[in-house]
């Protein structure tokens, strides 16, 4: 077998400018792919941004591993979504165990709440409203500036640009959904992840799995919730329902068959797309979801 010698200068080309200057980069470890993308928009290449979850992994069901602890041990800053998106608050526990500072992105957001078994539960999927996403980004920017005040103006400039992009996204979504009549704006998905999205764009939401795919209060599948979803599909005249990229599609396929409707496509929900796909960033993920929804519901 022929050996391939990778020339030294090629390695040098692969290094980022900051590494080439021998300045060690600070590290942010995020729980989810969405929060990691927001962090990248704020810090650029100045920090290394890592995510505990890979694309397609479910934050509700994640089981912490020794590798997660090792990853968090490298962090200068940890970022979680909060409101128990990370089942049993695994990111908080990891950060506390390693004594790392932790930013909770949902801090300052007005939650959508459910009353489940006399317990008030805050829906953690707040990033589905671009306005809420702007709060995530500001929370990250503030924390980063506290740790690295020397580059505050860079972080602020990047944040301002990204907030403009979020505004543009929001306006674009409004324009896209304008083509769907109000009575057809019904979004049926695997689990109850789209409440903020539905509120922002005047959709009705229905899902058989509750707010989490895990076993928390108000989460998971119950026969009543399954039947209620089928009933609401039949009563509302919905023709299409959607599976999610991070949730097993089996249940929603069964429901579609039982209710006599089609699967309209796959939506990014608790996780973004793989590197190289259209959904690998928050903006891309939202754009692709909207196009999938518009393409089937209008």
């Amino acid at each position: 077998m022929r050996n391939f010698v990778f020339p030294a200068f090629a390695w040098a080309c692969l290094l980022t400018p900051l590494q080439a200057n021998n300045v060690p980069r600070r590290v942010i470890v995020c729980s989810t792919t969405q929060t990691a993308d927001f962090a990248r928009q704020v810090v650029g290449d100045r920090w290394q941004v890592k995510s505990v979850l890979a694309s397609g992994e479910d934050p509700h069901l994640h089981q912490v591993t020794a590798n997660d602890s090792k990853l968090v041990a490298t962090a200068d800053l940890c970022i979680e979504n909060g409101w128990h998106l990370e089942g049993k608050d695994w990111m908080r526990t990891l950060a506390e165990d390693e004594r790392k500072p932790l930013v909770t992105c949902t801090e300052g957001i007005k939650p959508e709440q459910f009353n489940e078994a006399d317990e008030l539960v805050s829906d953690p999927h707040a990033w589905f409203s671009p306005q809420n996403a702007s709060i995530y980004v500001r929370n990250i920017q503030k924390a980063v500036c506290q740790i690295d005040p020397d580059h505050q103006s860079d972080y602020e400039a990047r944040t301002r640009l990204y907030l403009d992009q979020l505004r543009t996204l929001h306006l674009w979504i409004q324009r896209q959904f304008n083509s769907i009549p109000a009575n057809r704006r019904i979004l049926v998905t695997s689990h109850d992840a789209f409440n903020y999205f539905c509120k922002a764009y005047k959709f009705q939401a229905a899902a058989p799995l509750g707010w989490s795919t895990g076993a928390e209060t108000g989460a998971g599948l119950t026969p009543e919730r399954r039947q209620a979803t089928i009933d609401s599909i039949r009563n509302s005249g919905v023709k299409t329902i959607f599976v999610e990229t991070s949730v097993n599609p089996r249940l929603i396929r069964e429901i579609a068959k039982e209710a006599g409707v089609e699967i309209g496509g796959q939506l990014y929900s608790d996780s973004m797309g793989k590197t190289g796909t259209a959904g690998e960033t928050y903006l891309g993920m939202m754009r692709e979801n909207v196009l999938t929804i518009v393409g089937t519901l209008k």
């Binding site: 306005q131 702007s134 944040t159 301002r160 907030l163 403009d164 505004r167 543009t168 306006l171 409004q174």
Partner: protein, 157 residues
């Protein structure tokens, strides 16, 4: 092998000449300027910001009603020159359009010199976005009074 010599570009710092006359800026909003949920700083972001040659000349964080005219008089340090480089007076403006802002917004931007309008422009936003951009006021220097030497190649009958 092809080589190319790059000469050091000479950059002249142009002298600034203050333009004569009394200048006034008038900004008229056709919509209420309000806080924007996508602003960087929700509490302290200016609802109306106008900067002239890098300095803020209007900055307020309070809501401003539609139809309000904001004025700066006298507008100082207006320079004159031969083009946008030497006689350029660049204004940057940013007016936030509030939360319910799915339509395009307009702002009328007028500059007066000795009470004569020298710029009258209306800037429009994309639907829902803040009205922002730059306006350039070029005050041309008066032509030189000295006669240039005659060109002998031109026949004069």
């Amino acid at each position: 092998m092809c080589t190319r010599n790059y000469g050091a570009a000479q950059v002249d710092v142009l002298p600034e000449v203050i333009a004569p006359g009394v200048f006034r800026l008038e900004l008229t909003l056709t919509f209420p300027a309000e806080r924007d949920p996508f602003a960087f700083d929700l509490e302290n972001e200016p609802t109306v910001l106008v900067a002239f040659r890098g300095k803020n000349i209007i900055r307020t964080t309070n809501p401003v009603q539609a139809g309000t005219s904001l004025q700066v008089q006298p507008l100082q340090h207006v320079v004159e020159g031969n083009d946008e480089q030497s006689g350029g007076n660049e204004f940057y403006f940013e007016i936030l359009a509030g939360e319910d802002s799915s339509v395009a917004r307009g702002v009328r931007f007028r500059i007066f010199r000795d009470e004569q309008v020298v710029v009258d422009r209306t800037a429009w936003s994309h639907p829902g976005e803040p009205v922002r951009g730059t306006v350039n006021l070029v005050i041309l220097a008066p032509p030189e009074t000295e006669h240039a030497p005659e060109d002998p190649s031109i026949d004069r009958d």
